[in-house]
Protein backbone atom coordinates (compact mmCIF):
# COMPACT_ATOMS: atom_id res chain seq x y z
CA UNK A 1 0.00 0.00 0.00
CA UNK A 2 1.28 3.44 -0.87
CA UNK A 3 2.01 5.74 2.03
CA UNK A 4 -0.35 8.37 0.65
CA UNK A 5 -3.28 5.96 0.62
CA UNK A 6 -2.44 4.97 4.17
CA UNK A 7 -2.32 8.62 5.23
CA UNK A 8 -5.71 9.28 3.68
CA UNK A 9 -7.26 6.23 5.33
CA UNK A 10 -5.90 7.46 8.65
CA UNK A 11 -7.08 11.03 8.12
CA UNK A 12 -10.57 9.90 7.11
CA UNK A 13 -10.76 7.43 10.03
CA UNK A 14 -10.90 4.44 7.72
CA UNK A 15 -8.33 2.34 9.57
CA UNK A 16 -9.41 -0.32 12.03
CA UNK A 17 -8.24 0.11 15.58
CA UNK A 18 -5.27 -2.22 15.26
CA UNK A 19 -3.96 -0.63 12.06
CA UNK A 20 -4.52 2.75 13.59
CA UNK A 21 -2.42 1.84 16.62
CA UNK A 22 0.31 0.51 14.39
CA UNK A 23 0.19 3.66 12.29
CA UNK A 24 0.49 5.93 15.30
CA UNK A 25 3.38 3.90 16.65
CA UNK A 26 5.19 4.29 13.39
CA UNK A 27 4.58 8.04 13.47
CA UNK A 28 6.27 8.15 16.86
CA UNK A 29 9.23 6.04 15.90
CA UNK A 30 9.93 6.87 12.27
CA UNK A 31 10.80 10.56 11.93
CA UNK A 32 10.98 10.44 8.15
CA UNK A 33 7.56 8.80 7.96
CA UNK A 34 6.20 11.45 10.30
CA UNK A 35 7.62 14.29 8.22
CA UNK A 36 6.07 12.82 5.10
CA UNK A 37 2.73 12.48 6.87
CA UNK A 38 2.82 16.05 8.15
CA UNK A 39 3.56 17.37 4.71
CA UNK A 40 0.63 15.44 3.29
CA UNK A 41 -1.66 16.57 6.07
CA UNK A 42 -0.67 20.21 5.53
CA UNK A 43 -1.46 19.77 1.87
CA UNK A 44 -4.88 18.24 2.54
CA UNK A 45 -5.62 21.02 5.03
CA UNK A 46 -4.75 23.63 2.41
CA UNK A 47 -7.04 21.85 -0.05
CA UNK A 48 -9.89 21.84 2.46
CA UNK A 49 -9.34 25.45 3.42
CA UNK A 50 -9.35 26.45 -0.23
CA UNK A 51 -12.59 24.71 -0.96
CA UNK A 52 -14.34 25.95 2.20
CA UNK A 53 -13.13 29.49 1.73
CA UNK A 54 -14.17 29.63 -1.93
CA UNK A 55 -17.61 28.37 -1.00
CA UNK A 56 -18.01 30.84 1.85
CA UNK A 57 -16.81 33.73 -0.26
CA UNK A 58 -19.32 32.87 -2.97
CA UNK A 59 -22.03 32.69 -0.35
CA UNK A 60 -21.10 36.09 1.08
CA UNK A 61 -21.14 37.60 -2.39
CA UNK A 62 -24.60 36.23 -2.93
CA UNK A 63 -25.69 37.57 0.48
CA UNK A 64 -24.27 40.94 -0.50
CA UNK A 65 -26.22 40.88 -3.71
CA UNK A 66 -29.43 39.96 -1.92
CA UNK A 67 -29.00 42.55 0.85
CA UNK A 68 -27.47 45.49 -0.96
CA UNK A 69 -28.06 44.72 -4.62
CA UNK A 70 -25.39 44.02 -7.17
CA UNK A 71 -22.77 46.72 -7.15
CA UNK A 72 -21.69 45.62 -10.58
CA UNK A 73 -24.88 46.29 -12.44
CA UNK A 74 -24.05 49.01 -14.87
CA UNK A 75 -26.82 50.68 -16.73
CA UNK A 76 -25.93 52.42 -19.90
CA UNK A 77 -26.76 55.97 -18.98
CA UNK A 78 -26.92 55.64 -15.29
CA UNK A 79 -24.16 55.54 -12.75
CA UNK A 80 -25.63 54.84 -9.38
CA UNK A 81 -23.89 56.62 -6.58
CA UNK A 82 -23.06 55.10 -3.28
CA UNK A 83 -25.77 57.21 -1.69
CA UNK A 84 -28.50 55.95 -3.97
CA UNK A 85 -27.53 52.37 -3.48
CA UNK A 86 -26.94 52.00 0.21
CA UNK A 87 -28.65 54.87 1.95
CA UNK A 88 -31.86 55.11 0.01
CA UNK A 89 -32.91 51.61 -0.91
CA UNK A 90 -36.36 52.15 0.55
CA UNK A 91 -36.82 55.30 -1.49
CA UNK A 92 -35.92 53.46 -4.65
CA UNK A 93 -38.20 50.59 -3.80
CA UNK A 94 -40.96 53.09 -3.25
CA UNK A 95 -40.32 54.66 -6.65
CA UNK A 96 -40.54 51.27 -8.27
CA UNK A 97 -43.77 50.61 -6.41
CA UNK A 98 -45.22 53.93 -7.50
CA UNK A 99 -44.20 53.28 -11.09
CA UNK A 100 -45.78 49.86 -10.91
CA UNK A 101 -49.01 51.41 -9.64
CA UNK A 102 -48.99 54.04 -12.36
CA UNK A 103 -48.42 51.41 -15.02
CA UNK A 104 -51.20 49.28 -13.66
CA UNK A 105 -53.54 52.22 -13.56
CA UNK A 106 -52.54 53.16 -17.08
CA UNK A 107 -53.17 49.64 -18.28
CA UNK A 108 -56.50 49.40 -16.56
CA UNK A 109 -57.78 52.79 -17.59
CA UNK A 110 -58.99 53.33 -21.11
CA UNK A 111 -56.63 56.26 -21.61
CA UNK A 112 -53.39 54.26 -21.60
CA UNK A 113 -54.02 52.67 -24.93
CA UNK A 114 -50.43 52.33 -26.02
CA UNK A 115 -49.22 50.77 -22.83
CA UNK A 116 -52.25 48.57 -22.68
CA UNK A 117 -51.71 47.33 -26.17
CA UNK A 118 -48.10 46.42 -25.57
CA UNK A 119 -48.76 44.75 -22.28
CA UNK A 120 -51.64 42.62 -23.37
CA UNK A 121 -50.15 41.72 -26.70
CA UNK A 122 -46.93 40.45 -25.41
CA UNK A 123 -45.86 37.93 -22.83
CA UNK A 124 -42.42 37.74 -21.38
CA UNK A 125 -41.34 34.18 -21.40
CA UNK A 126 -39.95 33.65 -17.95
CA UNK A 127 -41.36 30.55 -16.39
CA UNK A 128 -43.03 31.12 -13.07
CA UNK A 129 -42.53 27.94 -11.21
CA UNK A 130 -45.64 26.26 -9.98
CA UNK A 131 -44.67 25.91 -6.35
CA UNK A 132 -46.94 23.08 -5.40
CA UNK A 133 -46.21 21.02 -8.44
CA UNK A 134 -42.49 21.54 -8.08
CA UNK A 135 -42.42 20.75 -4.39
CA UNK A 136 -44.24 17.53 -5.17
CA UNK A 137 -41.68 16.77 -7.81
CA UNK A 138 -38.94 17.56 -5.36
CA UNK A 139 -40.43 15.24 -2.80
CA UNK A 140 -40.64 12.39 -5.27
CA UNK A 141 -37.16 13.34 -6.43
CA UNK A 142 -35.87 13.19 -2.89
CA UNK A 143 -37.42 9.80 -2.38
CA UNK A 144 -36.06 8.38 -5.58
CA UNK A 145 -32.67 10.00 -5.24
CA UNK A 146 -31.84 9.31 -1.63
CA UNK A 147 -30.28 6.06 -2.63
CA UNK A 148 -28.15 7.77 -5.29
CA UNK A 149 -27.00 10.68 -3.08
CA UNK A 150 -28.12 13.26 -5.59
CA UNK A 151 -28.45 16.91 -4.66
CA UNK A 152 -31.94 18.31 -4.60
CA UNK A 153 -32.34 22.06 -4.68
CA UNK A 154 -34.95 24.41 -3.36
CA UNK A 155 -37.27 25.14 -6.31
CA UNK A 156 -36.62 28.48 -7.98
CA UNK A 157 -39.27 31.19 -8.18
CA UNK A 158 -38.65 31.76 -11.87
CA UNK A 159 -36.86 29.82 -14.54
CA UNK A 160 -35.59 30.61 -17.97
CA UNK A 161 -32.69 30.01 -20.31
CA UNK A 162 -29.25 31.54 -20.70
CA UNK A 163 -26.15 30.81 -22.76
CA UNK A 164 -22.43 31.52 -22.71
CA UNK A 165 -21.14 34.55 -24.62
CA UNK A 166 -17.42 33.88 -24.25
CA UNK A 167 -15.06 31.46 -22.58
CA UNK A 168 -14.44 33.71 -19.58
CA UNK A 169 -17.53 32.56 -17.72
CA UNK A 170 -20.06 35.13 -18.89
CA UNK A 171 -23.51 34.27 -20.11
CA UNK A 172 -26.50 36.20 -21.36
CA UNK A 173 -30.17 35.89 -20.48
CA UNK A 174 -33.35 38.00 -20.45
CA UNK A 175 -33.44 41.00 -18.16
CA UNK A 176 -37.11 40.50 -17.30
CA UNK A 177 -36.23 37.10 -15.90
CA UNK A 178 -33.55 38.25 -13.46
CA UNK A 179 -34.66 41.78 -12.67
CA UNK A 180 -34.97 42.42 -8.94
CA UNK A 181 -33.87 38.94 -7.97
CA UNK A 182 -32.16 37.84 -4.76
CA UNK A 183 -29.94 35.25 -6.31
CA UNK A 184 -29.36 33.51 -9.61
CA UNK A 185 -28.06 30.06 -10.35
CA UNK A 186 -27.42 28.41 -13.65
CA UNK A 187 -27.15 24.76 -14.47
CA UNK A 188 -27.31 22.08 -17.11
CA UNK A 189 -26.12 18.52 -17.28
CA UNK A 190 -22.48 19.60 -17.44
CA UNK A 191 -22.28 22.27 -14.74
CA UNK A 192 -25.11 21.02 -12.52
CA UNK A 193 -25.40 24.22 -10.50
CA UNK A 194 -23.41 27.43 -10.20
CA UNK A 195 -24.10 30.83 -8.73
CA UNK A 196 -24.16 33.83 -11.05
CA UNK A 197 -24.44 37.56 -10.64
CA UNK A 198 -25.56 40.33 -12.93
CA UNK A 199 -22.75 42.43 -14.35
CA UNK A 200 -24.51 44.31 -17.11
CA UNK A 201 -28.04 45.03 -18.23
CA UNK A 202 -29.81 46.69 -21.13
CA UNK A 203 -33.47 47.50 -20.75
CA UNK A 204 -34.29 48.19 -24.39
CA UNK A 205 -32.91 44.87 -25.56
CA UNK A 206 -34.22 43.07 -22.49
CA UNK A 207 -30.89 41.35 -21.87
CA UNK A 208 -28.75 40.86 -18.78
CA UNK A 209 -25.20 39.56 -18.71
CA UNK A 210 -24.27 37.28 -15.86
CA UNK A 211 -20.89 36.28 -14.50
CA UNK A 212 -20.82 32.68 -13.45
CA UNK A 213 -19.18 32.26 -10.07
CA UNK A 214 -15.54 31.57 -10.80
CA UNK A 215 -15.45 28.80 -8.21
CA UNK A 216 -17.73 26.81 -10.52
CA UNK A 217 -16.69 28.02 -13.92
CA UNK A 218 -15.72 25.06 -16.02
CA UNK A 219 -12.57 25.24 -18.07
CA UNK A 220 -14.14 26.50 -21.24
CA UNK A 221 -12.01 26.56 -24.34
CA UNK A 222 -13.33 28.52 -27.29
CA UNK A 223 -17.09 28.42 -27.68
CA UNK A 224 -18.38 26.50 -30.70
CA UNK A 225 -20.51 29.40 -31.96
CA UNK A 226 -19.98 33.06 -32.70
CA UNK A 227 -22.14 36.17 -32.59
CA UNK A 228 -23.36 37.66 -35.82
CA UNK A 229 -22.68 41.38 -35.85
CA UNK A 230 -24.46 42.17 -39.11
CA UNK A 231 -28.20 42.35 -39.74
CA UNK A 232 -30.17 39.19 -40.43
CA UNK A 233 -32.58 38.97 -43.33
CA UNK A 234 -36.27 38.40 -43.35
CA UNK A 235 -37.05 34.77 -44.06
CA UNK A 236 -33.75 33.49 -42.81
CA UNK A 237 -34.00 30.01 -41.29
CA UNK A 238 -33.29 29.99 -37.57
CA UNK A 239 -33.47 27.68 -34.57
CA UNK A 240 -33.42 27.97 -30.80
CA UNK A 241 -32.57 25.86 -27.77
CA UNK A 242 -34.11 26.47 -24.37
CA UNK A 243 -35.47 25.10 -21.14
CA UNK A 244 -39.24 25.54 -21.22
CA UNK A 245 -39.23 22.12 -19.57
CA UNK A 246 -36.89 20.11 -17.40
CA UNK A 247 -34.75 19.11 -20.37
CA UNK A 248 -33.43 21.16 -23.24
CA UNK A 249 -35.89 21.72 -26.09
CA UNK A 250 -35.18 22.47 -29.74
CA UNK A 251 -37.37 24.69 -31.93
CA UNK A 252 -36.99 25.91 -35.51
CA UNK A 253 -38.54 28.48 -37.82
CA UNK A 254 -37.61 31.67 -39.57
CA UNK A 255 -37.36 35.40 -39.09
CA UNK A 256 -40.85 36.64 -39.89
CA UNK A 257 -40.56 40.38 -39.31
CA UNK A 258 -37.65 42.69 -38.77
CA UNK A 259 -39.36 44.61 -35.96
CA UNK A 260 -41.53 43.92 -32.95
CA UNK A 261 -44.54 46.15 -33.63
CA UNK A 262 -42.13 48.80 -34.87
CA UNK A 263 -39.49 48.28 -32.18
CA UNK A 264 -36.34 47.80 -34.22
CA UNK A 265 -34.38 46.30 -31.32
CA UNK A 266 -36.21 43.03 -31.77
CA UNK A 267 -37.43 40.86 -34.57
CA UNK A 268 -40.40 38.60 -34.83
CA UNK A 269 -39.76 34.91 -35.25
CA UNK A 270 -41.98 32.06 -36.29
CA UNK A 271 -40.94 29.58 -33.65
CA UNK A 272 -43.36 28.30 -31.06
CA UNK A 273 -41.76 29.52 -27.83
CA UNK A 274 -43.01 28.97 -24.32
CA UNK A 275 -42.42 30.31 -20.84
CA UNK A 276 -38.90 29.25 -19.94
CA UNK A 277 -37.56 29.96 -23.43
CA UNK A 278 -36.68 33.49 -22.36
CA UNK A 279 -32.96 34.16 -22.70
CA UNK A 280 -32.37 31.29 -25.10
CA UNK A 281 -30.03 31.58 -28.09
CA UNK A 282 -31.47 32.18 -31.54
CA UNK A 283 -29.14 30.81 -34.20
CA UNK A 284 -28.92 30.77 -37.96
CA UNK A 285 -28.17 27.70 -40.06
CA UNK A 286 -24.42 28.16 -39.74
CA UNK A 287 -24.65 28.28 -35.94
CA UNK A 288 -24.15 32.02 -35.55
CA UNK A 289 -26.06 33.68 -32.71
CA UNK A 290 -28.52 36.10 -34.33
CA UNK A 291 -30.66 36.91 -31.27
CA UNK A 292 -31.80 36.27 -27.72
CA UNK A 293 -35.36 35.00 -27.27
CA UNK A 294 -37.43 37.39 -25.19
CA UNK A 295 -41.19 37.05 -25.51
CA UNK A 296 -44.12 35.91 -27.60
CA UNK A 297 -47.26 37.33 -29.09
CA UNK A 298 -50.24 36.51 -26.95
CA UNK A 299 -53.01 36.03 -29.46
CA UNK A 300 -50.98 34.20 -32.08
CA UNK A 301 -49.36 30.85 -31.47
CA UNK A 302 -45.98 30.28 -33.01
CA UNK A 303 -44.95 33.92 -32.94
CA UNK A 304 -42.08 34.97 -30.77
CA UNK A 305 -39.74 37.91 -30.37
CA UNK A 306 -36.01 38.07 -29.93
CA UNK A 307 -33.47 40.82 -29.31
CA UNK A 308 -31.14 41.28 -32.29
CA UNK A 309 -27.60 40.08 -31.76
CA UNK A 310 -26.41 42.90 -34.01
CA UNK A 311 -27.54 45.45 -31.43
CA UNK A 312 -26.27 43.45 -28.49
CA UNK A 313 -22.85 43.47 -30.17
CA UNK A 314 -23.11 47.23 -30.65
CA UNK A 315 -24.15 47.93 -27.08
CA UNK A 316 -21.30 45.84 -25.66
CA UNK A 317 -18.80 47.56 -27.94
CA UNK A 318 -19.83 50.90 -26.51
CA UNK A 319 -19.40 50.10 -22.84
CA UNK A 320 -17.42 52.92 -21.30
CA UNK A 321 -15.69 50.89 -18.61
CA UNK A 322 -12.69 49.51 -20.52
CA UNK A 323 -12.12 46.59 -18.16
CA UNK A 324 -15.70 45.42 -18.34
CA UNK A 325 -15.76 45.88 -22.10
CA UNK A 326 -12.74 43.64 -22.44
CA UNK A 327 -14.27 41.00 -20.21
CA UNK A 328 -17.46 40.98 -22.27
CA UNK A 329 -15.85 40.44 -25.66
CA UNK A 330 -18.16 38.12 -27.58
CA UNK A 331 -17.11 34.78 -28.99
CA UNK A 332 -15.91 35.29 -32.56
CA UNK A 333 -15.03 31.82 -33.77
CA UNK A 334 -17.56 29.46 -35.23
CA UNK A 335 -16.52 25.84 -35.64
CA UNK A 336 -19.91 24.27 -36.23
CA UNK A 337 -20.58 25.93 -39.57
CA UNK A 338 -20.78 22.93 -41.87
CA UNK A 339 -22.14 20.43 -39.36
CA UNK A 340 -25.46 18.63 -39.44
CA UNK A 341 -28.06 20.21 -37.17
CA UNK A 342 -27.99 17.36 -34.64
CA UNK A 343 -24.21 17.65 -34.44
CA UNK A 344 -24.45 21.40 -34.00
CA UNK A 345 -26.88 20.96 -31.12
CA UNK A 346 -24.59 18.47 -29.46
CA UNK A 347 -21.80 21.05 -29.54
CA UNK A 348 -23.96 23.96 -28.43
CA UNK A 349 -26.03 22.47 -25.64
CA UNK A 350 -23.24 22.35 -23.00
CA UNK A 351 -23.21 26.15 -23.20
CA UNK A 352 -26.97 26.60 -22.83
CA UNK A 353 -28.29 26.66 -19.27
CA UNK A 354 -31.32 26.59 -17.14
CA UNK A 355 -31.42 29.88 -15.24
CA UNK A 356 -32.89 29.57 -11.75
CA UNK A 357 -34.04 32.85 -10.23
CA UNK A 358 -34.89 33.35 -6.58
CA UNK A 359 -36.92 36.28 -5.40
CA UNK A 360 -37.84 37.05 -1.81
CA UNK A 361 -41.44 37.69 -0.93
Amino acid sequence: MRNVDLFDDYLFGRLNSEDKKQFENRLREDAEFKAEFNKHKGFVDALNYTSAKNTLKAKLKSIHQSQFGSSNIRHINENKTFYQKYIKPTGMAATVAVLAVITTVAVLSGGGYLIKKQNTDYTELKREVNQIKTSQDVITDVISKVAQKKRVYVPANFMGTGFAINSKGYCITSLHLVRGCDSIFIGNNVIDRAGARIVYTDTKLDVAILKIDSAFTPNWKDLPYSFKSSASDLGEKIFTLGYPAQDIVYGEGSISSSTKNGDTNMFQISIPVNPGNSGGPLMDEQGNIVGVVSGKKNNAEGTGFAAKAQYITDVLKNIEDEDLKKELTLSKRNNIKGLKRSEQIKKISPYVFNVYVYKGN
Binding site: T50, I63, F82, K149, A194, Y358
Partner: protein, 210 residues
Amino acid sequence: MEKIGLLLPFTRIKERNPGMAAKRQFTDTEFLEGLRSSDDLVLTALYKKYFGVVLKYVLNNSGTEEEAQDIYQETVIVLYNNTQKPEFELNCAIQTYIYSVAKRLWLKQLNKNSNVYKLPDNADEDGTLVDVSSEVSDYEEKEKNLLRMNDSLVGLGEPCKTLIEDFYIKHLSMEEISEKFGYTNADNAKNQKYKCLQRLKRLFFNEEGK
Protein backbone atom coordinates in the same frame (compact mmCIF):
# COMPACT_ATOMS: atom_id res chain seq x y z
CA MET B 1 -29.87 13.29 -16.79
CA GLU B 2 -26.78 12.81 -14.71
CA LYS B 3 -26.56 15.56 -12.13
CA ILE B 4 -23.86 15.68 -9.56
CA GLY B 5 -24.37 18.19 -6.81
CA LEU B 6 -21.67 20.69 -6.07
CA LEU B 7 -22.88 22.92 -3.30
CA LEU B 8 -26.20 23.67 -1.80
CA PRO B 9 -26.02 27.41 -1.31
CA PHE B 10 -28.92 27.75 1.05
CA THR B 11 -30.32 25.05 3.20
CA ARG B 12 -33.94 26.07 3.46
CA ILE B 13 -36.00 28.54 1.52
CA LYS B 14 -37.07 30.14 4.76
CA GLU B 15 -33.48 30.92 5.57
CA ARG B 16 -32.76 32.66 2.37
CA ASN B 17 -35.62 35.07 2.72
CA PRO B 18 -33.78 38.36 3.23
CA GLY B 19 -36.78 39.95 4.88
CA MET B 20 -36.57 37.61 7.83
CA ALA B 21 -32.91 38.20 8.43
CA ALA B 22 -33.47 41.91 8.33
CA LYS B 23 -36.27 41.96 10.85
CA ARG B 24 -34.77 39.85 13.58
CA GLN B 25 -32.38 41.46 16.05
CA PHE B 26 -29.59 39.25 17.34
CA THR B 27 -27.35 39.70 20.35
CA ASP B 28 -23.61 39.16 19.99
CA THR B 29 -23.92 35.78 21.71
CA GLU B 30 -26.65 34.72 19.30
CA PHE B 31 -24.53 35.85 16.36
CA LEU B 32 -21.55 33.82 17.52
CA GLU B 33 -23.70 30.78 18.26
CA GLY B 34 -25.32 31.07 14.84
CA LEU B 35 -21.96 31.34 13.08
CA ARG B 36 -20.67 28.38 15.03
CA SER B 37 -23.55 26.27 13.73
CA SER B 38 -23.26 27.78 10.20
CA ASP B 39 -26.77 29.22 10.26
CA ASP B 40 -27.35 31.08 6.99
CA LEU B 41 -30.03 33.30 8.47
CA VAL B 42 -27.64 34.54 11.16
CA LEU B 43 -24.81 34.92 8.67
CA THR B 44 -27.03 37.09 6.48
CA ALA B 45 -28.16 39.25 9.42
CA LEU B 46 -24.59 39.68 10.64
CA TYR B 47 -23.37 40.51 7.17
CA LYS B 48 -26.03 43.11 6.78
CA LYS B 49 -25.50 44.68 10.19
CA TYR B 50 -21.78 45.43 10.03
CA PHE B 51 -21.12 46.17 6.37
CA GLY B 52 -21.68 49.87 6.93
CA VAL B 53 -18.89 50.09 9.50
CA VAL B 54 -16.30 48.61 7.17
CA LEU B 55 -17.60 50.43 4.12
CA LYS B 56 -17.26 53.75 5.88
CA TYR B 57 -13.76 52.99 7.06
CA VAL B 58 -12.49 51.85 3.66
CA LEU B 59 -14.13 54.73 1.79
CA ASN B 60 -12.58 57.18 4.24
CA ASN B 61 -9.18 55.64 3.67
CA SER B 62 -8.83 55.93 -0.09
CA GLY B 63 -10.64 52.72 -0.93
CA THR B 64 -13.53 52.04 -3.27
CA GLU B 65 -16.85 50.48 -2.53
CA GLU B 66 -15.80 47.29 -4.27
CA GLU B 67 -12.63 47.06 -2.21
CA ALA B 68 -14.70 47.59 0.92
CA GLN B 69 -16.92 44.71 -0.08
CA ASP B 70 -13.95 42.44 -0.58
CA ILE B 71 -12.24 43.43 2.68
CA TYR B 72 -15.49 43.04 4.57
CA GLN B 73 -16.09 39.58 3.16
CA GLU B 74 -12.58 38.49 4.11
CA THR B 75 -13.20 39.89 7.60
CA VAL B 76 -16.41 37.93 8.01
CA ILE B 77 -14.52 34.83 6.87
CA VAL B 78 -11.83 35.40 9.53
CA LEU B 79 -14.54 35.71 12.18
CA TYR B 80 -16.43 32.69 10.87
CA ASN B 81 -13.33 30.51 10.76
CA ASN B 82 -12.52 31.49 14.32
CA THR B 83 -15.96 30.52 15.55
CA GLN B 84 -15.28 27.06 14.17
CA LYS B 85 -12.40 26.64 16.62
CA PRO B 86 -13.56 25.18 19.94
CA GLU B 87 -11.20 27.36 21.96
CA PHE B 88 -12.33 30.62 20.37
CA GLU B 89 -13.65 33.25 22.74
CA LEU B 90 -14.51 36.78 21.83
CA ASN B 91 -13.77 39.26 24.59
CA CYS B 92 -14.99 42.39 22.87
CA ALA B 93 -18.05 43.46 20.91
CA ILE B 94 -18.42 41.88 17.46
CA GLN B 95 -18.38 45.32 15.92
CA THR B 96 -15.01 46.12 17.53
CA TYR B 97 -13.62 42.82 16.36
CA ILE B 98 -14.85 43.28 12.78
CA TYR B 99 -13.58 46.83 12.69
CA SER B 100 -10.16 45.78 13.98
CA VAL B 101 -9.73 42.92 11.53
CA ALA B 102 -11.01 44.94 8.57
CA LYS B 103 -8.71 47.81 9.39
CA ARG B 104 -5.69 45.59 9.67
CA LEU B 105 -6.49 43.82 6.40
CA TRP B 106 -7.07 47.09 4.63
CA LEU B 107 -3.85 48.70 5.86
CA LYS B 108 -1.91 45.64 4.76
CA GLN B 109 -3.48 45.83 1.35
CA LEU B 110 -2.71 49.51 1.00
CA ASN B 111 0.90 48.92 1.93
CA LYS B 112 1.15 45.99 -0.43
CA ASN B 113 -0.31 47.84 -3.38
CA SER B 114 1.76 50.91 -3.17
CA ASN B 115 4.84 52.39 -1.62
CA VAL B 116 3.26 55.79 -1.58
CA TYR B 117 0.52 55.08 0.91
CA LYS B 118 1.67 54.80 4.43
CA LEU B 119 -1.29 55.57 6.58
CA PRO B 120 -0.50 56.87 10.04
CA ASP B 121 -1.60 54.20 12.47
CA ASN B 122 -3.70 56.53 14.54
CA ALA B 123 -7.08 54.90 14.32
CA ASP B 124 -6.90 54.04 18.00
CA GLU B 125 -8.32 57.50 18.48
CA ASP B 126 -11.67 56.21 19.68
CA GLY B 127 -10.26 53.26 21.57
CA THR B 128 -12.31 50.76 19.59
CA LEU B 129 -9.58 48.43 18.45
CA VAL B 130 -8.55 45.04 19.73
CA ASP B 131 -5.38 43.15 18.97
CA VAL B 132 -6.08 40.78 16.10
CA SER B 133 -2.52 40.45 14.79
CA SER B 134 -2.24 36.71 15.39
CA GLU B 135 -5.59 36.00 13.73
CA VAL B 136 -4.70 38.11 10.74
CA SER B 137 -1.27 36.57 10.25
CA ASP B 138 -2.85 33.12 10.56
CA TYR B 139 -5.32 34.15 7.88
CA GLU B 140 -2.56 35.49 5.64
CA GLU B 141 -0.64 32.26 5.91
CA LYS B 142 -3.68 30.28 4.82
CA GLU B 143 -4.44 32.77 2.09
CA LYS B 144 -1.00 32.28 0.56
CA ASN B 145 -1.68 28.56 0.42
CA LEU B 146 -5.12 29.22 -1.02
CA LEU B 147 -3.86 31.28 -3.93
CA ARG B 148 -1.31 28.64 -4.77
CA MET B 149 -3.88 25.88 -4.41
CA ASN B 150 -6.37 27.67 -6.66
CA ASP B 151 -3.68 28.09 -9.31
CA SER B 152 -2.59 24.49 -8.95
CA LEU B 153 -6.15 23.23 -9.30
CA VAL B 154 -6.62 25.26 -12.47
CA GLY B 155 -3.35 23.88 -13.79
CA LEU B 156 -4.42 20.37 -12.90
CA GLY B 157 -7.46 20.46 -15.20
CA GLU B 158 -10.26 17.95 -15.56
CA PRO B 159 -11.12 15.24 -14.71
CA CYS B 160 -8.37 15.29 -12.08
CA LYS B 161 -9.69 18.41 -10.36
CA THR B 162 -13.16 16.97 -9.83
CA LEU B 163 -11.75 13.61 -8.81
CA ILE B 164 -9.52 15.18 -6.16
CA GLU B 165 -12.37 17.32 -4.87
CA ASP B 166 -14.73 14.36 -4.77
CA PHE B 167 -12.25 12.42 -2.70
CA TYR B 168 -10.79 15.03 -0.35
CA ILE B 169 -13.63 17.52 -0.01
CA LYS B 170 -16.78 15.50 -0.51
CA HIS B 171 -15.25 12.34 0.94
CA LEU B 172 -16.73 10.08 -1.72
CA SER B 173 -15.56 6.49 -1.51
CA MET B 174 -13.39 4.93 -4.21
CA GLU B 175 -16.40 2.85 -5.28
CA GLU B 176 -18.50 5.98 -5.82
CA ILE B 177 -15.69 7.70 -7.68
CA SER B 178 -15.11 4.66 -9.81
CA GLU B 179 -18.77 4.58 -10.77
CA LYS B 180 -19.01 8.31 -11.39
CA PHE B 181 -15.95 8.50 -13.64
CA GLY B 182 -16.59 5.16 -15.29
CA TYR B 183 -13.47 3.34 -14.08
CA THR B 184 -13.68 -0.43 -14.14
CA ASN B 185 -13.11 -0.86 -10.41
CA ALA B 186 -12.18 0.88 -7.18
CA ASP B 187 -8.51 -0.04 -7.49
CA ASN B 188 -8.36 1.64 -10.86
CA ALA B 189 -9.96 4.74 -9.38
CA LYS B 190 -7.43 4.66 -6.58
CA ASN B 191 -4.58 4.61 -9.08
CA GLN B 192 -6.12 7.51 -10.94
CA LYS B 193 -6.51 9.45 -7.70
CA TYR B 194 -2.89 8.74 -6.86
CA LYS B 195 -1.69 10.05 -10.22
CA CYS B 196 -3.86 13.16 -9.98
CA LEU B 197 -2.70 13.80 -6.43
CA GLN B 198 0.96 13.49 -7.35
CA ARG B 199 0.46 15.93 -10.18
CA LEU B 200 -1.37 18.40 -7.97
CA LYS B 201 1.30 18.13 -5.30
CA ARG B 202 4.00 18.78 -7.87
CA LEU B 203 2.16 21.92 -9.01
CA PHE B 204 1.52 23.04 -5.46
CA PHE B 205 4.95 22.44 -3.96
CA ASN B 206 7.00 23.42 -6.99
CA GLU B 207 5.53 26.85 -6.99
CA GLU B 208 6.39 27.16 -3.34
CA GLY B 209 10.06 27.59 -4.17
CA LYS B 210 9.48 30.58 -6.38
